[in-house]
């Protein structure tokens, strides 16, 4: 555990270095860490706090405020499913139900086999081709039951 956290801290050092002299560096640093690890590990917060002359509580306060900053490692795939009004109007809820059943997870959960994390998202800006989703950064429009089954097969593979 100690070993792992030392590695993490050295992995974030260049990200901190890249941003610490810029205006408003904390979000770019956290975004960089999110890209690197897929989540924001608690172990790296003290290093950020020290570099930016903030308290750990301040850094944690920011991490906990934003939906994107997962505090636990996600599954091998991340599926974000839009739950906002335009997707509700086009049968998004039925697709969401189906996907939760197929994947065996509820929103905010990671499958027991570590295959996938399912997260809600409130609007991907694809409201004229709803319902929509994002699988590992790839956008999906006009999501229907057939496509939902494909997604389930894809993340299980």
């Amino acid at each position: 555990m100690q070993q792992a956290s030392t590695e993490m801290v050295s992995a974030v050092a260049p990200i901190i270095e890249r941003w610490k002299h810029e205006e408003g560096p904390l979000l770019p640093i956290l975004n960089g860490i999110l890209r690197e690890f897929g989540y924001v590990p608690r172990e790296v917060l003290p290093a950020i706090a020290e570099a930016l002359n903030l308290t750990r509580a301040e850094v944690y306060g920011v991490v906990s405020f934003y939906h994107d900053y997962r505090q636990n490692p996600p599954g091998r795939h991340v599926l974000k499913l839009c739950r906002a009004e335009a997707c509700q109007a086009t049968g998004g809820e039925a697709v969401a139900e189906k996907l939760q059943k197929l994947l065996g997870v509820r929103f905010g959960e990671t499958a027991a086999d570590g295959s996938v994390t399912l997260e809600p998202v409130y609007c991907l800006g694809l409201c004229a081709c709803a319902p929509s989703a994002m699988l590992d950064g790839e956008l999906i429009g006009r999501l229907d039951e057939e496509r939902a089954e494909e997604i389930a097969r894809e993340v299980r593979a």
Partner: protein, 518 residues
């Protein structure tokens, strides 16, 4: 002979398979020994036809859509490279009624040009506004913007010229232009479309704003849900820097201006300007009371213009054609054009830019073609999750800031989400409260606590526990949120709740009564 083919790289087109179509066309052309040049343009905004492929022919640009990868061999068989016949043939895109009826000022180039080619941008009237601005005094620039009657397109509708004047009037020193690209409202995608389809127009607008108020630094605060937009913006900014549109000397002038994109982290409330500024500074995105106005004490305590993407992207055409030209479109105090977004359960969903004044009914039924499901329209929500639900009985309301306010609604960012008759309005009201609870920044009590209590009250109503009393409580609660919240999140959540209650009371009555009525 090399044929030019346009295949959008817009998020919407990509979500419908545009990359796979582009790959298939490239491979098929190679296999058949045909020379093609594929340009990845923005979207024209006709999403029911995406991916829409356009071919440059002797007869002009001709469109085919919606194209699937499996359609590609038959397109080649039908000689689509010369505009040949095919079941997906759409003809000249400008002649498609949905496009033909529009007045595209802000979106004039969107879907036509290569979004990251500055020479293409200039060949289509780009940079003319900025060149004009460089020959004017800052006062004259602000004069044109004020004259145009442009009001903040993010939703608040505050006159852009007055905001700029306030920042200009502050003593010289570091000032900022901040572009609010945190387009979080469901049913809206115009910011995304323009940033992906014509990013230079936003860059040009920000440079003009910088010159007008004396700012040298601009930030685009972009939501993290738009990764494709981010890539395109970065490419466009790099091209603008290379060409000297951004940098130490804007187009060789004495003005300096540069732009940086900052990506958010998934917080709806950061679309509120004071929360956005805190987020840019690396803090929790919490709302604060105004005054001080951001125009006086904004980013890092410095005078800051915070404008929505569409407001800034509309500035170049105003400086190009003049404030009076823009002002002559529209009605009442709503001047110019507005990019309306038709979304949800609608047959022809997409972007429709038009002068203010079309009625809601014309937009939904006539232009949008009614629902995609073919069932009757029961409700439309205008202006995102904080906008009111309108029944067809109010479809004569003209698209105008004041007309919507009179009917207890708002235009917001001009998104219209269409619902058919299967919608349960009690459920929609509950969702409005739930969304507010999820996204509340937590600073003020009416929003933080009110939204959670609102969900509980509506759940009791659904379960038939003293229904009349719950309606009374939720109405009272909405009043408290409306007048007691610090920002529009808590303050406007009552709009969808109360409008649902008012226009669709049958959905809020106890179930046995509802069933008996059917």
């Amino acid at each position: 002979m090399t044929v030019t083919i346009y295949i959008p790289r817009d998020s919407g087109a990509l979500a419908l398979g545009a990359d796979r179509v582009a790959r298939a066309i490239g491979e098929e052309a190679q296999a058949r020994g045909r020379q093609v040049r594929i340009v990845r343009n923005g979207s024209r905004g006709l999403y029911w036809l995406e991916p829409m492929v356009e071919v440059e022919t002797e007869k002009g640009r001709l469109a085919y859509g919606p194209v699937k990868p499996s359609d590609v061999p038959s397109l080649f068989d039908g000689d689509f490279l010369s505009g040949g016949a095919h079941p997906l043939f759409l003809g000249r895109p400008e002649e498609i009624p949905f496009l033909k009826r529009q007045t595209r000022l802000t979106f004039a180039r969107c879907g036509i040009t290569d979004p990251v080619s500055l020479s293409d941008y200039e060949a289509h009237e780009g940079l003319k506004g900025l060149r004009n601005a460089l020959s004017m005094t800052p006062q004259e620039i602000i004069g044109e913007v004020t004259e145009s009657g442009l009001r903040g397109r993010g939703g608040a509708g505050f006159p852009t010229g007055i905001k700029w004047k306030t920042v200009q009037d502050q003593p010289p020193g570091q000032k900022y232009i901040v572009c609010n690209a945190d387009e979080g409202d469901s049913g809206t995608f115009s910011d995304r479309m323009i940033m992906e389809g014509d990013p230079f127009v936003l860059i040009e607008g920000m440079v003009i704003a910088g010159i007008a108020v004396g700012a040298t630094r601009g930030y685009i605060y972009l939501r993290s849900e738009y990764p494709v937009t981010h890539r395109i913006l970065e490419e466009a900014i790099a091209a603008a820097r290379q060409a000297g549109v951004l940098g130490g000397s804007v187009l060789g002038s004495q003005y300096a201006f540069d732009i940086e994109v900052r990506v958010g982290a998934g917080a709806y409330v950061c679309g509120e300007e004071t929360a956005l500024l805190d987020s840019l500074q690396g803090k929790r995105g919490q709302v604060r009371a105004k005054p001080p106005l951001p125009a006086i004490e904004g980013l890092f305590g410095r005078p800051t213009v915070v404008n929505n993407v569409i407001s800034l992207a509309t500035v170049p055409v105003i400086l190009d054609r003049g404030g009076a030209f823009y002002r002559d479109f529209g009605m009442g105090r709503s001047r110019g054009t507005i990019p309306i977004q038709l979304a949800g359960n609608v047959k022809r969903g997409g972007l429709f830019e038009a002068a203010f004044g079309l009625t809601l009914g014309e937009l939904v039924e006539d232009i949008g073609g009614g629902t995609a499901s073919g069932r009757p329209v029961r409700a439309v929500q205008v202006g995102g999750p904080l906008g009111a639900y309108f029944p067809p009985a109010l479809f004569d309301t003209p698209f105008d800031y004041e007309a919507f306010a009179e009917k207890d609604g708002l235009i917001g960012h001009a998104g219209i989400v269409v619902f058919d008759d299967t919608v349960d309005m009690l459920k929609q009201a509950r969702f409005a409260m739930e969304f507010c609870a999820v996204e509340s920044c937590g600073k003020c009590t009416p929003c933080r606590v009110g939204s959670t209590r609102g969900v509980e009250v509506l759940d009791r109503l659904k379960n038939n526990i003293e229904p009349e009393r719950q309606i009374e409580i939720v109405t009272d609660l909405c009043n408290t949120m409306k007048f007691g919240s610090l920002c529009a999140l808590g303050g406007f959540t009552p709009y969808p709740v109360l409008s649902a209650l008012r226009h669709f009371p049958e959905d809020f009555r106890p179930h046995p009564v509802r069933e008996a009525a059917e």
